[in-house]
Amino acid sequence: MKGIILSLLLTLSLEGMAQSKVTTKVAKLGYVSSMFAQLYSGPNRDMEIYTTVECGHPVKILSRSDGKTEEMIFGRGWYLIKAAGHEGFVQARFVSESKVTDCFNQQYPKYYDALNLTISEMYYWGRLKNVYNYGESKAVGDNL
């Protein structure tokens, strides 16, 4: 009897594990479109920062599935991406699905090099992009 109960419990726990197993896969490719973007440990700008990546850097946009649902946008507009050897969350507004051609560092590479940005300045620049609150007034005709 004991054996039956134990094997039942084991089967149930294994099924539960199989159901809650979360998998990630590459959904599409993208490029950093902001001067700098930062990868966070969660979809929130107050989370731990893993790294800072430059504009134009290629990234892999991941989707996450729990077997039932698949999601690609997390929180209030965040992607889960793989870039520069890290997997983390980045604000979707900083990632373009097509190759970016108007990065400041690519348009003016020698000018940008001459700035001699320190690691700390790059970090702050990436952070700055994340701490802004973005807004806009609707363009003419938007609400017609």
């Binding site: 400041f104 020698k110 000018y111 700035l115 702050y124 701490v131 609150n133 807004g135 806009e136 003419v140």
Partner: protein, 284 residues
Amino acid sequence: MMKILLLTLLLASTHAQEVDNEFVDFSKIKNVLKQDGLDEVAKKKTLDEKKKKEREVSKMQKKYDMPRIEDFWGFMSEYWLVKNAPILKWDFKKADYGVDEYFGAFLEKFGFRGVKYRILYLDAPVITHMALPANEKELIFLISVPFIRTLDLSKIEISLLMFEDYIRSEYGYFKANVQDADLISSFGTNFYGKKFDEKLLQKVLKNYDNMVWNKGFTINEQHNVTKKVVSHLVSDLKIWGLYRELLVKIDRLVKTNIIYKNYPATYPSPELQIKWITEPKEIL
């Protein structure tokens, strides 16, 4: 003996052939080459190579482009914000005041559409409120959280201050105060083969510092801004009244709180603004 003779004849005939080859008249086959189109192919190839080389040189030279005016201000303001991060203290955990959405609706109400903006909250009173230039039709608003808390400002009051900053930027006062002839003439130029003028960049940073920390705006500039703000707000007397009350609050603050004593040096002055907006003939 016979063998030697044969060898001599053989050598002599080989030498004669080589000599003949040396004197092949290529001009005779020019026409043949022309007819075959090989001449054209060779010309095209040379031209293509020349063009390729020119493209490579141009691509390499382009790397030395100075920013165009439309790319400069957003970059420069952010560069200044990064350089001054420890003083401005904008990297802190803050509450969501909901102003980003509210201000959009505020601008629309007064007919300002398609304006993009970024709000940066500061955990320091060193700048109370200010708009920095960004790219075209875009602004960076700086708002001090200690200032908001001290005055217990509502969303509409914060929006009124931002609106004042927006009008100030429409006049282009900030840009006009930090740029000079050297900077203007550098936009869109190229420094290939020259030394990068680092002094120019440092000068603009200094001008930003001077504008924000010392110089501020003139009475004339402030008068124009206040009048313009009122000319828009007068269509909604409730909001106009709130603007006046806000200026009274700020006036009281700057006269009683030492932390904000320099406010009138940047924005001269709340007292004058109250006077300007209550001139009856001007608001009717």
